[in-house]
């Protein structure tokens, strides 16, 4: 490699600094959560319950609520997204397909806080009536909105995978007299399996990382959720809610533990994504 000029060195320096900052974030959170981690209570921190008055700062209820909310939202979003992707790729009338995808991309751009705001005033009262007791702020309420929120991301991945099937296969299927729906089921869908997995992992990441929907709709009580109709506080909401506490308290330090858990979960999902998708992850849609 030839020697770099000053300007090229500057480019390199900027890139390396930005990259290092990503790693530095984890270190910074570890340092600030150290008093909690250091006292040898790592297990009781991850597995214990949240009783600040009794000196117990476990984040297990939040972890459970986060996972429950994210997984049920993804399970609900999979059929919605798969059906819409089928329509956009093969089943809708051809003139409708690209407007359909434009709408999906627009949906992906709707601010999260707007979904939350609309749901607080329109969905929560409906849920309150339907459940018959309580405030209507439940994990189920948040799940319904979160599924709609993450669906566009998943659709974009699914459509990308279904469209990436080589043209030759597709023409061969046509020549054999396949109906569009047969081609979809027996050619495109099996071929697109890695992209479908990637889309689901992406959706899970978005659902786990979302703050506003859980915060505005799930009720936020820091107890272990026992059903979808109970209230819950996600890891992300916990960070947003404890922020007001005294900076030197142990409660405050626990939010850095939440941050570390979320960071590691994200890194794990990125690792899975890189294994499922053959192309470099930077070339994702």
């Amino acid at each position: 490699m030839s020697r770099l000029s000053a300007a090229e060195r500057a480019l390199q320096l900027t890139t390396v600094c930005c990259g290092l900052l990503v790693a530095a974030m984890l270190v910074l959170m570890l340092v600030l959560a150290w008093p909690l981690l250091h006292s040898g209570q790592l297990l009781s921190l991850i597995g214990g319950d949240w009783q600040p008055a009794a000196g117990r700062y476990g984040i297990a209820p939040m972890l459970a609520a986060s996972l429950l909310l994210a997984i049920s939202a993804v399970l609900l979003a999979i059929p919605l997204s798969l059906g819409t992707a089928f329509a956009a790729v093969a089943l809708a009338p051809p003139f409708l397909r690209s407007p359909l995808m434009l709408c999906v991309r627009l949906m992906a751009g709707i601010p999260t806080v707007i979904y939350g705001f609309a749901a607080v005033f329109a969905l929560v009262p409906l849920m309150r009536q339907w459940i018959g007791s309580g405030s209507g702020f439940t994990l189920l309420t948040a799940t319904l909105v979160l599924a709609v929120l993450i669906a566009p991301t998943m659709i974009v991945f699914f459509v990308g995978g279904l469209r990436a099937v080589p043209q030759g296969y597709s023409l061969a299927a046509d020549a054999l007299g396949c109906r569009p729906v047969d081609k979809l089921l027996y050619l495109l869908l099996p071929q697109a399996a890695p992209a479908i997995t990637a889309g689901i992992v992406m959706g899970l990441g978005r659902a786990l990382g979302d703050t506003m929907i859980g915060l505005m709709l799930a009720g936020n009580s820091a107890i272990m959720p026992d059903s979808m109709l109970s209230t819950g506080r996600t890891l992300t909401s916990h960070i947003a809610l404890v922020i007001a506490a005294d900076f030197s308290s142990m409660e405050f330090k626990s939010i850095f533990a939440c941050g570390i858990v979320l960071y590691l979960l994200t890194a794990a999902l990125v690792a899975i994504l890189r294994r499922t998708l053959p192309l470099p992850a930077t070339a994702r849609p």
């Binding site: 900027t14 059906g83 005033f121 703050t211 070339a283």
Partner: protein
């Protein structure tokens, strides 16, 4: 049997599409229906005369002006920080980085792209705490810290759009400048960057759209419910998305709620317009049509 499965798939697909669109239309419809009537002249400036408010002669207490000014200042500052860093990083990754270094760097940016925005906000807060220890009483949560954190949040979007645009420049175009004797940096500046300007502009607009709607980062790093128009980089400020979140839980009377819906409608309109613009820019580039 196969026929039945096919028919079932079609029915399922259409039902899913309809259900998803109905759900989105329901939420958007609620915002438009209830926000529309709030789009009155008094929405932004309240009872203050617009000119007085714009010249900062008088504070606006019952309008969206402080929140809009805060969001505008925040976006300007965020993009001032993020665009140079994103351009530099995108160019370096596309044109210089190779092998292991490139793999490691793109892994880090992939993680950054996937991080929940509240974690980025938390890092901003951690930075604030450390700065607060170094300069006691001078630095707290403020506009500057928010902009730094938001810039970091949207950095991967910028990097990715610059890198992808550069890497997809056709070889024929890529070779012209070196053939004329230009060095690498000149080639990038005079040929490659101009050729992918529309994609880069699209990426920047997309990044603004991502930054403008984010609530989690700013609620940890300095956005508050009432601060007036931002007066300094080191002061707390108001912002539209935070205002919307705040109203949803803390509104005192129907008028305030009405203003919340109108603010939501404004934010929604801004995001949709920006997304459409980005879409147009990234699909309409004639240089990108390969033979």
């Amino acid at each position: 049997m196969r026929r039945a499965l096919g028919t079932l798939t079609i029915a399922f697909s259409f039902a899913a599409t309809l259900l998803l669109f109905a759900a989105v239309l329901f939420f958007v419809g609620v915002i438009v229906y209830r926000g529309w009537s709030g789009l009155a002249p008094g929405l932004i400036f309240g009872d203050t005369r617009p000119l007085d408010a714009l010249l900062l002669r008088r504070q606006v207490f019952d309008g969206l002006f402080p929140a809009m000014a805060g969001t505008l200042a925040l976006m300007a500052l965020t993009m001032t920080l993020a665009v140079p860093a994103g351009l530099a990083t995108g160019i370096y990754l596309a044109e210089y980085a190779r092998g292991r270094g490139k793999a490691l760097l793109s892994l880090l940016f992939d993680i950054l792209a996937g991080l929940p925005s509240i974690v980025v906000g938390l890092a901003g807060l951690a930075l604030t705490i450390i700065l607060h220890r170094i300069f006691p009483g001078r630095i707290g949560p403020c506009l500057l810290i928010s902009a730094l954190a938001l810039a970091f949040l949207v950095l991967p979007y910028l990097v990715r759009s610059v890198q992808l645009a550069l890497e997809s420049v056709p070889r024929t175009l890529r070779l012209t400048a070196p053939a004329l004797g230009a060095d690498k940096l000149t080639t990038i500046r005079a040929v490659l960057l101009p050729a992918c300007l529309p994609e880069i502009a699209g990426g920047i607009i997309l990044a603004v759209g991502r930054a403008i709607e984010d609530t989690a980062v700013i609620m940890l790093t300095g956005a508050v419910a009432s601060a007036g128009v931002p007066r300094s980089l080191l002061a707390q400020y108001e912002a539209l998305p935070f205002y919307i979140y705040y109203i949803s839980g803390q509104y005192a009377d129907p008028e305030e709620l009405q203003r919340g819906f109108a603010a939501a409608l404004l934010l929604l309109a801004m995001c949709v317009v920006m997304l459409l613009a980005a879409q147009l820019l990234s699909t309409g580039n004639p240089l990108r049509r390969r033979p």
